[in-house]
């Protein structure tokens, strides 16, 4: 019995010492020390890390990078309040930035940073700025579609019954529906959604799966963002990809443009470095990186587009204030109600 007790005590002691050791082995890296900023990022590390490394190399400013879901990071920032260790919030979409702005957590950015980006893709109050854009498009299989639709209303035609793919839980699809609610009102949006649901669209887990289904001919048309096609072309080679993008008619609700963007926290202890990062993200280097690496739209005028893309001006997307896209909860409720969200 004594040996068992001794063993137990030994185990407990060992456990405690491990805890204690682990607790103390973390160096006290203060994020607000000069030359270092903390970035909360809803954009993935894979995507932006090479860019941030380049920024660090050029400026000597080190970056503490914390990735997460944009909305959850916004909740974390709101909960942290003034005590937040974050200096910069890099968000996957405008909605999370708008929420932080409403919570009074973002500082106003200098005009010279804001002005190169068109007014539609930054906060009206100057508290966040878009860094790259994505366009909702139809991806189509030309073997199956002779005359591609160019408006979302044409998708309600019975000839497409069971032949349209979409990703019901995808944030960009839900943003499109939110945009539709903004443009047509809740009743107008409901009417379109009911017509769409009646056409038996095929649900996929992700946009990539929608694109693949169109490419293989499983469905004829997919509702996705513009860059999924180019990702596939980059991976498989243009010769091996059948699918093509069909951009929507000017002003059509289906052609919504959403942006990823960035804001600087009021509580930032290193505003100079934080602003330097914003400036870098809007620099030609970074803008070209987005265009080439992710096939997104650069938002600063004068930066070349990915090959074959029409300009945002040519596309003439629907005029929607991106900060009005913060009612996704109601959108999900509507989608659930018409049977397009869940099973």
């Amino acid at each position: 019995m004594i040996t068992r007790t001794t063993r137990l005590v030994a185990i407990a002691a060992a456990a405690l010492s491990v805890v204690a050791a682990a607790c103390s082995d973390d160096n006290d890296s203060s994020s607000s020390s000069p030359g270092s900023i903390t970035v909360y990022s809803g954009r993935s590390e894979e995507l932006v890390k090479p860019l941030l490394d380049q920024f660090s190399a050029e400026t000597g400013i080190t970056i503490e990078f914390r990735a997460g879901d944009s909305g959850e990071l916004a909740a974390q920032l709101i909960t942290e309040g003034d005590a937040s260790p974050a200096d910069v919030f890099f968000s996957q979409d405008a909605g999370a930035l708008g929420a932080l702005q409403k919570a009074g957590m973002l500082s106003t950015l200098p005009d010279e940073l804001l002005s190169p980006v068109p007014g539609a893709y930054r906060s009206a109050d100057g508290e966040w700025v878009g860094t790259s854009g994505r366009v909702r498009v139809l991806v189509i299989n030309p073997d199956l579609v002779a005359n591609p639709p160019t408006t979302v209303d044409e998708l309600l035609d019975p000839q497409w019954k069971g032949r349209i793919g979409f990703a019901p839980s995808n944030a960009s699809w839900q943003s499109f529906v939110t945009g539709l609610r903004v443009l047509r009102g809740d009743d107008g949006a409901r009417e379109w959604l009911e017509g769409f649901a009646a056409n038996d669209p095929v649900a996929y887990e992700k946009n990539g799966a929608v694109r693949d289904a169109v490419n293989s001919g499983e469905v004829a048309i997919g509702l996705v963002n513009h860059y999924y096609l180019y990702e596939k072309i980059a991976a498989d080679g243009a010769a091996n990809v059948r699918a093509v993008n069909q951009f929507l008619a000017p002003g059509d609700a289906g052609g919504l443009v959403n942006v990823a963007g960035v804001g600087v926290l009021k509580s930032s202890g290193n505003r100079t470095a934080a602003l330097a990062l914003v400036e870098f993200l809007l620099s030609e280097t970074a803008q070209r990186y987005f265009a080439e690496k992710t096939f997104e739209y650069p938002l600063v005028a004068g930066v070349a587009l990915p090959d074959g893309l029409p300009t945002l001006d040519e596309l003439d997307p629907p005029a929607i204030d991106l900060s009005d896209l913060d009612t996704l909860a109601e959108t999900q409720e509507l989608l659930a109600d018409v049977g397009l969200l869940t099973r």
């Binding site: 456990a15 682990a22 894979e46 959850e72 909860a329 099973r343």
Partner: protein, 502 residues
């Protein structure tokens, strides 16, 4: 009698554990009342809130019922039958514990999108959760005194009558404990129901964060889960009854295995029907991803680092959780007062909360009270403790309850003080439970994502965060090696758990 007063050395740490466990509740109350009571009423008094609560309750009930059926049947087969290969099956039946629900759900949905919906959610959650029932039931079955059954048989009861009237009632405690964990877990799950597009209540909670950017609304909604958890915890403790410790002297005889005879093919069929979808299928999918990813840019050193971080965090979480769970478990098993019950139940309540709510509640407490360790390792470990305390509390309580209180009474009567009894009698009795609880917490921490993502020290990557990182941007191919490492290494504590209950 003095023995009714548990020593302060137990009460104080148990109270501390209980306090840690209710941190999320403090946060939820604070945030919910942020915008006044009217807001709370408006938020809750909605048709959709009620619908989704019913969806979740329905899902939880269905999964729990299936887990009890599968768990009890599997436990009986591997412990009491003469099925050839039952030792191997015992371990195999525990392996689904190594598969995170989000991974299992994605394995199915990316293979056959049609499985989405209620049935898909039930399928996935049942297959990953039934071991929570099977393991404690198998342990209890192997401890049952076969003498009683022999007597019942000799008095003319049929096999079935013995099973229904003698064996099953004695398993009530372990079935109830496992069922409670399953029911709470299903209420809290988001990964599987999201992939399966079954609109459970956690949808609106995650929606409030991800789409509504409204932590207050999320807090109000999450409070509903706390209330549901309270109801379940109280229901369980009345279903549980008081565990009966064996009173005979000596060690129990090993029972004669029941001859399956012509039912043998049926037993193998059952085993295959469970193990194929629960173990073989996800492994096949993961291996497919890995082979597809040979072209993908995955560095071996990244996998190794993530594995090392995962193991380190899991070990710390297991150690810290056990230290706090021990006094609670002992009090729950031994004290007849209300205090022990209150402490124990309080540790279960947060178990119905989705990970993100626990994470944000620790952000709330962290920045206010624990600033020096905010976004440092100790706060993350504290997060794991809040999440997984009930797994360890249950295991400790279970082991202590197995031993008759008379052992401690005798030790007291021989002049030992309460601390000496605790050290020399109770603690050694709790050792199997400590081991089982530690393994369970270790395993579950390995799979944990939401709290890890929010609270981890900057730059720390675990297998789960790597999985998330790759799956959130692209296809599963890049994530394959991480998924494989996670499932293989989590299978080790799962197998140990099965071995320990034999």
């Amino acid at each position: 009698m003095k023995r009714d007063r548990p020593p302060l050395a137990l009460i104080v740490p148990a109270a501390a554990a209980s306090l840690v466990a209710v941190v999320p509740i403090w946060y939820l109350v604070d945030r919910s009342l942020d915008r006044g009571v009217d807001e709370v009423r408006d938020e809750l008094w909605r048709r959709r809130t009620l619908d989704l609560v019913l969806n979740s309750v329905g899902l939880s009930a269905a999964v729990t019922a299936l887990c009890v059926i599968i768990g009890v049947a599997a436990a009986w087969l591997v412990v009491r039958s003469n099925l050839a290969g039952r030792r191997f099956l015992h371990v195999a039946f525990a392996l689904p514990l190594a598969v995170p629900s989000y991974l299992a759900a994605f394995a199915w949905i990316s293979w056959r999108p049609q499985v989405a919906g209620f049935s898909g959610a039930v399928l996935v959650l049942t297959l990953v959760s039934y071991p929570y029932v099977m393991l404690p039931v198998a342990a209890a079955l192997s401890r049952l005194d076969p003498g009683q059954e022999d007597v019942a048989r000799s008095l003319g009861h049929s096999r079935l009558q013995v099973l229904l009237r003698l064996t099953l009632p004695q398993l009530r405690t372990s079935i109830a404990a496992g069922a409670l964990l399953v029911a709470l877990y299903v209420l809290s799950d988001f990964g599987a129901v999201a992939a399966m597009r079954y609109e459970a209540f956690t949808w609106v909670i995650y929606g409030a964060y991800r789409a509504g950017f409204n932590p207050s609304r999320a807090a109000i909604l999450a409070s509903v889960l706390v209330l549901l958890a309270l109801v379940l915890v109280i229901a369980e403790s009345s279903a549980r009854g008081r565990a009966a410790a064996r009173v005979g002297s000596g060690s129990p005889r090993v029972g004669t295995p029941v001859e399956l005879g012509r039912a043998t093919p049926l037993a193998y069929l059952f085993s295959a029907a469970v193990l194929l979808p629960a173990v073989v299928f996800p492994m096949w999918r993961i291996i497919t991803w890995v082979t597809e990813s040979v072209t993908a840019d995955v560095q071996f050193s990244d996998v190794r680092d993530a594995l090392w971080n995962t193991v380190k965090l899991a070990a710390l979480a297991a150690a810290a959780t056990i230290v706090l769970a021990f006094p609670v478990g002992v009090l729950a098993a031994r004290s007849r007062g209300a205090l022990g019950r209150v402490f124990e139940r309080s540790t279960y309540v947060a178990h119905a909360l989705p990970g993100i709510v626990v994470a944000i509640s620790l952000v709330f407490v962290g920045v206010r009270l624990l600033r020096p360790i905010y976004l440092e390792l100790p706060l993350l470990v504290l997060g794991y403790v809040v999440l997984f305390l009930p797994l360890a509390v249950g295991a400790v309580r279970n082991s202590v309850e197995q031993a008759p209180p008379r052992l401690e009474e005798v030790a007291r009567s021989l002049g030992n003080g309460p601390m000496a009894v605790l050290r020399r009698i109770t603690a050694p009795l709790a050792l199997p439970g400590i081991g089982a609880g530690a393994a369970m917490v270790f395993l579950t921490t390995m799979k944990e994502l939401p709290v890890t993502l929010v609270l981890r020290p900057t730059g720390t990557e675990t297998l789960a965060t790597r999985l998330w990182r790759h799956t959130s941007v692209s296809d599963y191919a890049d994530a394959g090696p991480y998924a494989l490492a996670l499932v293989l290494f989590a299978a080790i504590p799962a197998a140990l758990l099965a071995k320990a209950t034999r």
